[in-house]
Symmetry: C2
Subunit: 211 residues, 2 copies
Amino acid sequence: MSGRRTRERILETSLVLFNERGEPGVTTNHIAAELDISPGNLYYHFRSKDDILEQLFLRHEAALDEVLAVAGDTLPELEDLWFRLHTLFERMWAFRFLYRNLVELLGRNRRIRLRFARLLGRARESLGRVLSGLALRGALDAPPEQIRATVENVLLVTVFWIGFDAVRHGHEASRGADLAAGVYQVMMLIAPLLREPERTHLLRLAQAYRR
Amino acid sequence: MSGRRTRERILETSLVLFNERGEPGVTTNHIAAELDISPGNLYYHFRSKDDILEQLFLRHEAALDEVLAVAGDTLPELEDLWFRLHTLFERMWAFRFLYRNLVELLGRNRRIRLRFARLLGRARESLGRVLSGLALRGALDAPPEQIRATVENVLLVTVFWIGFDAVRHGHEASRGADLAAGVYQVMMLIAPLLREPERTHLLRLAQAYRR
DNA sequence: ATTATCTATAGATCTATAGATAATGC
DNA sequence: ATTATCTATAGATCTATAGATAATGC
């Protein structure tokens, strides 16, 4: 039974095409043609294009959750944080079609919208815990209000970095986005809140992520 | 000659519909129907849907440029800055369909993409000058690298605030975006770089923008 | 028997244009 | 004469399904 195989290949190919041409520019016909299967066959495996989108989103969500999961009570080292952030960007890049179109896409699909909002909530929770932890430990010096606002800004910059990078250069979206620059931007969001020697340490580390 | 009038009404109605339903969800037929004119008439006034989009963008660009224009050499007061920022958000909100779809839209239309990149460049320039000025004046204390990165983060947060606000709540996009919260987020981006007494002053002011 | 696949197509749009007709301004 | 508008439609898609056929696993 090549069935499992075909379903899988549909998802893989959809992802590739969505990333290449943007989701709105890819029809179920395109996907079927690229795979050399009939449109009918595609619809045997998926109820609709939205169904494909949802399956892709579920996988992406799982991939991000892996990165977000902070081991319960231990406070991660700062170094670990940047590594995670970079991994996060890489996994988002793998599903960049989502971030190219996020608002419109979530506006259309209620299920994905709800899941995304909850995913964002988990990220907020997780990052908030880390920064508050750093404050308790004395590595970070900022009032709770500032911490909350910074958490929100980190979320925003992270979610839209890929889109921003595509939009700020006038020329065609360069093949690869500048993910390192995204990590750098987030670092510079947090740096001003750190105490010495952590801040200098971070600034030195950040140099490696500059373009 | 109701001609001028009709052209104008097409633009106005397009804007309303785009904002309400999202640009991809609005066809030239919808626009014509809403106006009670024939599709043929619409195409008499505009070559294509893209033509309409471009005209709308040009108007929006002009509206933003008004706000960005910093009087040549005088350094604006901080108070003035927040007022401008709020005005900026309001004008962006008036064309929110753009920001709901920015990456995809710029990806499709080369002309708009180039203009947007240049607009962003002017904003970067303008804000960079302001923050550097504050540093010289001693109100702001941060190395040039930090200033540059903060400028970039302010641009990102500003451009995508409307999108972010729509995306972080799971429920249907609430009627009005929380523009004040956007201003607040940008303030909290800059606050950590300020020296006293400017910082405390800003934080107090920021309370008014909290939700 | 069940699962996978194909062919063919209905039905719904959408964009854009051609060509006729009406309205307007000299 | 020129400008504005309408009617009608070609041509291109797109999504999704019905129904026939092939392949597979017991």
